[in-house]
Amino acid sequence: MKARPPVSKTIEVISYLVLVSALTAEALSMRFNLGLALLPGAVIFGWSQIGGL
């Protein structure tokens, strides 16, 4: 039976997909919203700070 990928790997891949899709959507959008485009980064940066609680 094929082993499931570790949760951390799955989370990492999802994070990348969120960032790339946000970036692509904003880059392709006619109404480039800089503020909105930068918000996914805030999610990633905040979530990665768990060790600093």
């Binding site: 990492e12 960032l19 970036l23 800089l34 980064g41 990633i44 940066f45 060790g51 600093g52 609680l53």
Partner: protein, 174 residues
């Protein structure tokens, strides 16, 4: 609430000088800062980032009870500057809040950061078997330090790209 206050303050500070520097250079500076910090996450550059080397006080739970302590932890973490800063992404958010010069946007940005930062602590007790295991979550997460470095590195790189794209658009509109 403390995070929105910090965001409002940063935006207000930025607002006071935002008219002195045009949009393009501000965005390029944010992009360059993001790139430098991304290189740090990938260990291609090595330097320390400014931080207070302290964490929230675990003893508050004994002193004030769990509910009051939770609120105090939330406020303390929300300040952003008051606890350890493991990755450079936080400083890019500060630069963005200053650079946009909008208190409202600064508050939204810092609130988003705070929500993402505290979300694992809210969610952990529902996913783990016991409260004691939930308390161990930050330590367990630190074992995945390289994972977070890679994620923040990619986040910083994408932030840099967005800032450069924004700067180019501003230039094309002039």
């Amino acid at each position: 609430m403390s995070s929105t206050t910090v965001g409002l303050a940063l935006g207000a500070i930025g607002e006071s000088f935002v008219e002195k520097v045009s949009d393009g250079p501000r965005l390029y500076l944010i992009g360059i800062l993001s790139l430098i910090l991304a290189l740090r996450e990938w260990k291609l550059l090595q330097f320390s980032i400014p931080e207070f080397k302290r964490q929230t006080e675990k003893t508050w739970a004994h002193e004030f009870g769990p509910e009051v302590a939770s609120a105090m932890w939330g406020i303390h973490i929300g300040l952003g500057f008051g606890t350890r800063i493991n990755h450079g992404g936080f400083w890019v958010l500060v630069a963005i809040a200053l650079g946009f010069g909008s208190p409202k946007y600064g508050a939204i940005l810092m609130l988003t950061y705070w929500l993402a930062r505290t979300l694992p602590v809210w969610v952990a007790p529902t996913l783990l078997d016991s409260t004691s295991e939930a308390m161990e979550l930050p330590g367990a997460a630190l074992l995945q330090g390289r994972l977070f470095e890679r994620m923040v590195g990619i986040g910083l790189l994408s932030t840099a790209v967005i800032a450069f794209v924004g700067a180019a658009r501003v230039a094309s509109l002039v």
